[in-house]
Amino acid sequence: MIRALAHRALLALLATAVLLSHVVRAQPDTAPIVVASKPFGESYVLAEMLAVLLENNGIPVKRLPGLGTTEILFEAIRSGDVDVYPEYTGTGLIAILKETLTDHALADPRQVFAHVSQSFAARYGVRWLPPFGFENTFALAVRSDTAARHNLRTLSDLARESARLTGGFTPDFIQRPDGLAGLVRAYGDGIRPGTIRPLLPALKYQALAEGAVDVIDGYSTDGLLARYSLVVLEDDRRFFPPYEAAALLGTRAAGRADVVSALSLLSGRLSESTMRALNRRLEVDREDVHRVAVSALEAAGLGATPAASSREQGQVAIAASGESIGAYFWMRRDALLQLTLRHLGLVAVALLLAVVVAVPLGLLLERAQRAAGATLGMLGVIQTIPSIALLAFMVPFVGVGVVPALVALFAYALYPIARATFSGVRDANPAAIEAAEALGMTPRQRLLKVRLPLAAPVIMAGVRTSAVITVGATTLAAFIGAGGLGEPIVTGLALADARMVLFGAIPAAALAVVVDAALALIEKRVKPAHLRR
């Protein structure tokens, strides 16, 4: 009894201490620094290293790994939703500044860095820290047998042979001015492979290894280049600009001396071979990104004091290979539960908002039928926008994270509900509604007691359609940092880890079925009495 009391008192004391420490830490200037990355392995590792460095220096961090493409991240750092992310000078030059330099300047990484960092500071108030010390340029790679058969060593060699080869390129590379189009300008039309297949980054190495394609685009530090013993073709005309990796800091982070000095520790500390080894550990050996980052920092002499290396996030841990998929799921059941709850929360809020708006809207449109066509048409157009595009579209207006995700999901869920309400109420037994009016029911009584009950099954069918769509679309919310079951899907795609993709996809599919079944129960309850028999 006394022991139990003492135990409780101790717990209470501890809780108070924790609370106090939170209160003390919740000073205005110690809001967590938001560290984000692009959805590929190296970016994850670099961002995690930056995050750990900050934590080692007592600076609280919020992680948004794999948040999105260059456009999304850069928009987010300008708007202040993200404070730090790793970027590449060449990407900054071509994709963000949309500039090019003279061949002479392009050949010198230091000139490129100087130009980019000056332009960014002047134009956007965004600061580049000195580069980490390695370049990760675009590279074209072939299998060693292809290289031997066609005698390929340089891109000029490839331009001679390309017509007979099949290229497997990421859509990004096909589109970008510093990608295929630029190569054609530099090496002539011959460099364009006879056949081109657009491939996801996660798939292209496997496609190359299996012989489905002959040439792929990659990054010079890809861990997978080594794994499949590929030949990287030399850029003998020096077309690709230098892509030096460096930390990009938004205004708030750049204004904090402690953040700048902590992150600058990494400048000049990573060689290309080091980075390739780290990527390999992540992408090939499937080591946990946090572990890779911590050990890399230790190796660079930037190791943590043991106490500081606690980690607050870690929803998506990367697998050690060899586990069965069942064991994989079971070991991560806590994370799975959290992701599922988060997912369900996003779906519930978006759907609820959509019902609250779309049902009255549908009723309104039924009253004002002339406006109905145009309004429903407009909502329908939203529906036809691919959800990933809609999410990306939201970023400049509402930033990244939960709010834009909810706005996009909400906009997505509107149409089926509004349409169903509109036509359900319009088509519900006109003779009965006419009689109800002729016998003296007020418009409100007709709506609540006749029209809505009779339209309820149709409206619920619309809600169910919306719910299933929303469960699916919510997986994409992870692309803009809202979390949920899309998180392992995004990360898994970036790391070519099928199991991790399934870790998000299977529960998401199951969730769609469960949500639909749950709504079917509600539908049964709202079904008019005469239809229940």
């Binding site: 037994n429 003779a431 009965a432 006419e434 009689a435 109800a436 009016e437 002729a438 016998l439 003296g440 029911m441 007020t442 009584q445 006749v450 009950p453 009779l454 008019p528 009495a529 005469h530 239809l531 028999r533």
Partner: protein
Amino acid sequence: MSLEARHVSHAFGNVTALHEVSLTVPRGRCLALVGESGAGKTTLLRCFNRMVVPSSGEVRVDGADVTMRSAVALRRQVGYVPQHGGLLPHWTVLRNVALVPTLLQQPDAAATASRTLEQVGLSPREFGDRYPDELSGGQRQRVALARAIAAQQDVLLMDEPFGALDAISRAELQTLCAALRQDTGATTLLVTHDVLEADFLADEIAVMRRGRIEQVARLDALIAEPATPYVESLLTRALAGGGRRAVS
């Protein structure tokens, strides 16, 4: 309560439905409107519960212009039986019949409904808890009739109430309707295609054509002294086709 229309005209878009129509149904009497489809019968009937507001002219119920009071209050005093019953499909028979008493917040609405159901020849115990789609067409029209009179309405508007029924149900309902009229003494306006039904139920018949009333008289008088060639031809056709006096 009397019904009265004075110089009532109405158009739907540029189609004239009623043209300067005047008629009177004295208190407790029954007038039948007959004529072909599109003659304006239903439009005229619906003026009396303000389901149609005529473009011009005056419509009076119990001497008072219908536009002087709220449409909702008026409609609760005017019974209405549409062709297909118009019962609320998600409500039981009893609840349907209790509709107007409930709207009027009468405390004994359910008991009233039960009683009225008996009046139209349906046992409340057997039929009260059923849904309209569990009834035959004839039973549904009985329920619609009960609903129209449950609040002791003094006016009854019937729009082809038996038009969709088979001959036997129709005859039964006509008999029932005549009996109810005797009991309640409601002033009645009946729209029908059937001249013999009109003669059986109504005190007088108004023949309508293209939005105008051609003649108002008893059937005998219409046959003996048709006011227009149209009345004569309509009756010739109706009597030749029917041949049988409804239920007499």
